[in-house]
């Protein structure tokens, strides 16, 4: 079951570059929230702050607080513990090339020391089913490498991998941007199915996609959260001139 995310006064830097300015918002549980904005606006940095991936870059810095459920992720726990609660799907599919499909899905369990075979089998099957990939791969789970799948299948494999650790939040950083339209539609379908069970935060440069899958939408511009509201309101009656300019395409 998903939990809500409360973000207060979040600021982020890359070196001396101030990439996020004073972000405040509440992301509700068990819904999909879309983050849109032109490239370089800070939306990717923002999701990477939600599971402390931002810190993997040595010059990065963050201030402010992010509460996921009851936990203040910057005060109460280590990055490793946080990331086990939060699934992440990246822009380009990144299955582990040396692992079979099965091992890819089970990797979050195995690499964290989970040893129970029977449970792992169940989790792998359930996760692949949730990711709508089970029927396509069930016959060569351990024969084929994750890298041998098509791009769209690889991305669904990555979603299955993220779901296998039973996360409370699923972060998706432009999950369909590297995929063809058919695969994109499948991913969107999937998000639609999954959002009743997980809190989903999806970064996208595709406004139609945000409108199709998300209950709420946030618009980022130059590191600031310009507007955050119901998707319906953002796309039909935005409160800010800049949001309107962006969604009507009158924007660089």
């Amino acid at each position: 079951m998903g939990v809500g995310i409360q973000v207060d006064n979040l600021n982020a830097w890359y070196g001396s570059n101030h990439t996020l300015l004073d972000i405040n918002l509440h992301i509700p549980a068990n819904q999909a929230t879309a983050l849109i904005g032109p490239s370089g606006c800070g939306k990717s940095t923002f999701v990477r702050c939600l599971n402390r991936m931002h810190e993997t870059n040595p010059v990065a810095k963050v201030t402010g607080s992010v509460r996921i459920g009851e936990i203040d992720i910057y005060a109460d726990a280590s990055p490793v513990e946080i990331r086990r609660r939060i699934g992440m799907v990246f822009q380009r599919p990144n299955p582990f090339p040396t692992m079979s499909i099965y091992d890819n899905v089970a990797s979050g369990l195995k690499l964290n020391g989970f040893r129970n075979r029977r449970v792992t089998d169940e989790v792998v099957e359930r996760s692949l089913q949730q990711a709508a990939l089970w029927d396509e791969v069930k016959n060569d789970l351990k024969k084929k490498s994750g890298a041998s799948l098509s791009g769209g299948q690889q991305q669904r494999l990555c979603i299955a991998r993220a779901l296998a650790v039973d996360p409370e939040v699923l972060l998706m950083d432009e999950p369909a941007s590297a995929l063809d339209p058919v695969s994109t539609a499948k991913i969107e379908d999937l998000i639609f199915q999954l959002k009743s069970q997980y809190t989903i935060v999806i970064v996208t440069h595709n406004m139609q996609q945000a409108a199709r899958v998300a209950e709420r939408t946030g618009f980022f511009l130059s590191g600031k959260l310009v507007e955050f509201d119901s998707t319906h309101k953002i796309f039909t009656n935005p409160g800010d001139k800049r949001t309107e300019d962006y969604i009507t395409g009158r924007f660089g």
Binding site: T56, G87, P97
Partner: protein, 291 residues
Amino acid sequence: MTNSFRVSKANHLRRRLADHAASALAVAATIIVVAPLVAIFVYLLYKGASSLNLDFFTKIPKGPGETGGGMANAIWGSAILLGIGSLLGVPIGIAAGIFLAEYGRGSKLANIVRFTADVLNGVPSIVMGISVYSLIVLPQKHFSAFAGGVALGIMMIPTITRTTEEMLLMVPHAIREAALGLGVPNWRSVLSITLRTASPGVITGCMLAFARVAGETAPLLFTALGNQFWSSSLNEPIAALPLQIYTYAISPYDDWHRLAWAGALVLILLIMVSVSLVRYVTTRGVLKGAN
């Protein structure tokens, strides 16, 4: 006008001649370089193959001037020396490579380590021999297989370190992020994901280092020393294929020369197989699966 035309025509001829001459010289140079290689191989095959027989692999050397005998103890000794060398060189080399690629990227310490690895790579093997002699043989007061293995192991480190670093750097960053995003601890991600993804290349580097020290003689002269008899003890002098080839090559006996050629052929085949494998793996793309 006419004048300048004539000049440029002569000039043109001269330039074309120079062009052809340069091409001819480059082709000639290539032939001269390939020639000794072919000569060495043909000679080695011809001399070595005619001297190879079962005795070579099963018997120990006969006394000076006697015919027959083999190099079984030297092959065994080389295996032991290379085993010790690999046990020492492979883990340290890989770990140092991991440090350079995963932890020290761009840091001063990494630059120092990289530079000392290059220095170590350039240390003449004979100097390595006397260093290990004074570090291990002198304090222990006897030559030993252990000392020889240590000398070979140290010589393996720089090659393994640099290839490991290079191969780890080729692993896409996205793969590391995927692992970290799952909450996998960093050490686990480095070993089970990054290193494993790069493993074909890393193994290649280890084999390259192995092949290189397999033929080393100079570092063994005052460490492993050589031995005409069977020995498996790490505390005693031990025979090694290159040492035996050396001893036999500079001996006055024809039959020993014959054995030296056979030994050289075996040594070369061992090295060639590793190097070709290396070539095969690297040209096929070490990280074919990764995008």
